[in-house]
């Protein structure tokens, strides 16, 4: 993980700026701008209140995805950093845990900033909202773990655009971030409910708006933890296959 922190030293200024800027832009444009057209309450609240926690979870998904695609490919093929690590007394597990720990740290930064900006926009309605930070981290990892398993098995980066096109972008649009999934056609609803982002969005929203139902929250949490765990096992296998020959 320290390696990635060192590397981050190089780009942190740009990254921190976007960490602040994106939530401001999204909340202003979608929440206040577009939201002003949405006169009736959505899910029982103002539109900006509705989308803010969803955007936090979606951003976590994007960070988790970004940080586990090209950086993994680079560490295997372009800069070969993983091999340098494995020449030192580190194991494959150390390398994987280190990378995921770094992603978790990035998620901590980004979700904390997001929550602070949401508070500034007056969209935080419960002290439980602070828990949206760990849930955001978990949502990001639920993507990062399986995606890094995928990335470590790729020979080049063409598969990544597939992940964006058919994975991350549709999820961003249709997993309940911008509108309740009840508005989706009937057959699509279970599909949306089966996606990881839906659970991250629903849980964050319940925490931020303060209408938490324990049973549902438990189910969301179990789903995200489960996916992260499965992803970790797959990633560990995929890393081993790729790095130890």
């Amino acid at each position: 993980m320290r390696y990635w922190m060192y590397q981050y030293k190089r780009t942190w200024r740009g990254s921190v700026t976007t960490s602040f800027l994106y939530p401001v832009l999204y909340l202003a444009a979608m929440g206040l701008g577009f939201g002003s057209l949405v006169k009736s309450p959505v899910g029982g609240v103002k539109y900006v209140d509705f989308i803010a926690p969803g955007l936090l979870a979606s951003t976590a998904m994007q960070i988790g995805g970004n940080e586990s695609m090209y950086p993994v490919m680079a560490a295997i093929k372009w800069l070969r950093t993983y091999f340098a690590m494995l020449a030192a007394p580190l194991t494959v597990i150390d390398v994987l845990v280190g990378h995921l720990a770094w992603i978790a740290l990035r998620l901590l930064m980004v979700t904390s900033i997001y929550l602070a900006i949401m508070a500034a926009f007056g969209t935080v309605h419960s002290p439980l909202a602070i828990l949206a930070i760990p849930v955001g981290i978990l949502t990001g990892l639920a993507f990062a773990a399986p995606i890094s398993a995928f990335a470590a098995a790729q020979q080049n980066d063409t598969g990544f655009s597939t992940i964006y096109r058919f994975g991350l972008i549709p999820l961003f649009l249709f997993s309940g971030t911008f509108f309740p999934i009840a508005l989706l056609p009937g057959w699509l609803q279970p599909v949306a409910q089966a996606t990881p982002l839906y659970h991250g969005v629903a849980l964050c929203r319940a925490l931020v708006l303060g209408h938490l139902q324990l049973a549902a929250a438990g189910a969301h949490l179990a789903y995200l933890v489960g996916l992260t765990a499965v992803g970790f096992v797959l990633a560990q296998r995929s890393y081993r296959r790729r790095l130890v020959t």
Binding site: R2, Y3, Y6, Q7, K9, R10, L79, R80, T81, F83, A84, M85, L86, A87, A88, P89, L90, T91, V244, T245
Partner: protein
């Protein structure tokens, strides 16, 4: 370091085929061989980065299969391709790498300064790695491999692609490390490098050892003391036929398109014989046998890949 029947397989392909060797503490041991001979696979097994398919291997008395990280903590590795982080500074590359060994930051910083001095990179410490020259990157890789103060140094083609100045600087540094008692295992394509650096070496071909011994020992065993080269400018010259005419004048002949090599212990005497037989090559050259002659004899002249 002891290997018995050491084997590496990739699927059906046998990269390293049951080799045996012993390398003592403080020794410099070279692995020579054409591309694909199994040198790098052997190195990666010794470095505990690649699992052994068959046979036994002990490094520092330990088994790489079970104690890989403990062994790696005591060896330094210079891989064939640099694995430096191009976007970090020279110093940060060393700092990060030292952290992989769980060394305290203070210790790493101290050693990093010494190592940058040692590899003549001190004035570039705060520059990014990317724009550095190939020789500088190679020196940095070597500095990095020394950050953990290793007992064994594994160098896979350390000077490939470097200019003569950079090579000589590296040789000098490696020689000094040897004097400090660091065991070195080196692969190289440069025979002069092998002669300079290695106490003993093995010539690998097709995953096996074709020969093993000290450089001068190998020259004595597989070549003659001197080589007489007869050059013919006329492209129509049948050097093979010339060799037949000279039958008996040398221990061994090698007919190349433009010249004929005569392996002999006394080049002058042999040349006199050649002249007496009425042969007048366009130019002649008498030289000492080198490892290159041994290498080409053992592994053949044709390209393997």
């Amino acid at each position: 370091m002891v290997a018995r029947g050491l084997t590496k397989r990739f699927g059906d392909f046998v990269a390293v085929d049951a080799i045996n060797f012993e390398i003592g503490r403080g020794e410099s041991y070279g692995l020579l061989g054409p591309n694909g001979a199994g040198k790098t696979s052997t190195m990666r097994m010794i470095a505990c980065m690649s699992p052994v398919s068959d046979g036994t291997l002990r490094v520092l008395g330990m088994d790489p299969a079970h104690e890989g990280p403990r062994i790696r903590a005591r060896i330094g590795i210079v891989p064939q391709e640099d694995t430096l982080d191009l976007e970090l500074t020279v110093l940060d590359n060393l700092m990060v790498y030292g952290r992989y060994f769980d060394l305290p930051r203070r210790v790493i910083r101290e050693r990093a300064e010494q190592l940058l001095e040692f590899t003549q990179l001190s004035d570039r410490a705060h520059d990014k790695v990317d724009p550095l020259s190939g020789g500088m990157k190679r020196r940095l890789t070597i500095a990095r491999s020394l950050i953990s103060d290793p007992e064994i140094l594994i160098l896979d083609e350390p000077t490939t692609g470097l200019d003569p100045q950079a090579r000589h600087l590296l040789w000098d540094r490696l020689y000094r490390l040897k004097q400090q008692g660091v065991t070195q295992v080196i692969t190289t394509h440069y025979m002069d490098e092998a002669e300079q650096l290695c106490d003993r070496l093995a010539v690998m071909d097709g995953g096996r050892f074709a020969a093993e011994g000290a450089p001068n020992e190998l020259i004595l065993r597989y070549s003659t003391r001197e080589v007489l080269e007869l050059r013919f400018r006329d492209p129509g010259t049948d050097t093979g036929a010339v060799a037949t005419r000279l039958e008996g004048l040398a221990e061994r002949f090698e007919a190349l398109p433009d010249r004929l090599l005569l392996y002999t212990d006394d080049g002058e005497a042999t040349l006199a014989e050649v002249h007496r037989l009425g042969l007048s090559p366009d130019s002649t050259l008498i030289r000492r046998s080198t490892l290159e002659d041994v290498f080409l004899r053992l592994t053949g002249r044709s390209l393997v890949d």
